[in-house]
Symmetry: C2
Subunit: 202 residues, 2 copies
């Protein structure tokens, strides 16, 4: 079974021949020979497999966004980001599992939860770096959210150092100035901006 599975596309390519090169707890590197529409004889590629993940853009009753500051070891810096995290199971996740993951990460990382009568809207998915990895990130908008009685309960191994709310105009300023610089938050913001201009789209 593959480490992760991809959302079904309109015209999926056949599964490639695949040979494992390296495996750790959080990623798997394989060498594949993939047939593609322009390369029917197959092309060789090194692929890093990762589990699916979820990002949650969460807004309070007042419309402010929730952001958390997280230490990110691979880039040796802490970033302000929307809450996010991996889906526990490998394989193609169900819609229910994605929703559960998004809300779990929101509560664990920020201490917020969906308010009574609030809604969790899917905003589609994106690929973080499809030139070398199959990592697929599912986007959600939760509104309104409110503080949960349990507060934040960060997972082992993560280091969230702060959480705050941010008015929409201030979030735009942070993005314009380059203070938001993770793909998750930028991708969610891009979808939200595009949807504002195309309210009937999803």
């Amino acid at each position: 079974m593959p480490f992760s599975e991809l959302p079904p596309g309109p015209d999926p390519w056949p599964a490639p021949e695949s040979r494992p090169l390296f495996t750790s707890a959080h990623l798997e590197v394989t060498q594949v020979c993939q047939r593609t529409p322009t390369r029917p004889q197959g092309a060789e590629w090194t692929v890093v497999h990762r589990k699916n993940a979820c990002v949650i853009a969460a807004r309070t009753h007042g419309g402010e966004f929730i952001v958390v500051r997280q230490e990110r070891i691979p880039i040796r810096a802490a970033l302000w980001e929307f809450p996010a995290g991996q889906v526990d199971e490998s394989g193609l996740p169900t819609e229910a599992l994605l929703r559960e993951t998004a809300l779990r990460e929101l509560q664990e990382e920020s201490g917020y939860r969906l308010a009574p009568g609030g809604e969790l809207l899917p905003l589609g998915h994106f690929f973080s770096s499809p030139g070398f990895s199959d990592e697929c990130i599912h986007l959600f908008l939760a509104q309104p959210v409110e503080p949960a009685p349990a507060g934040a309960t960060p997972a082992e191994g993560e280091a969230i150092t702060a959480c705050r709310t941010l008015p929409a105009q201030e979030l735009a300023g942070w993005i314009a100035r380059g203070d938001i610089r993770d793909a998750n938050t930028l991708a969610a913001y891009a979808r939200l901006c595009a949807l504002e201009q195309n309210p009937a789209a999803p």
Copy 2:
């Protein structure tokens, strides 16, 4: 020398102890023990190192965006994306090298070039997946662009199957409907949207 280097931050963490686990032509996996502000004793992490890359949002005289359709083997699908590519050298790239890379990728993938009097504006950088990789992508806006006499000259190993221009409103529609789903294009679009709301920001 590290496989890639990171843009200088305001308060950089010390370089970690690092042990190679796996290396191929396009990536390097290492096990690091990184000291962080909340973990001064050091935390163990598996990191995938990648070269820096550039993405170029290019607009014609009429304001239309250039998008290319590219086969992406790791996700077994072709995506419509802004032109993009890796910086040839490893290590921290100069501003000049980033500009050269952005314009090279534009010409190679789409056959367009900066028009006389056109400008190439940096839009900052982002990290594609800072939970497991140090991949850093530098964003540019080029305008206006025009067809280059040489046309497109795709690099070996890439498969660009189409190129077209897209009015801004149509790009927003593609993003809203989930037809654009790579982090590069979404991150560039997020910065452009945020800058429209904060013209004085960069």
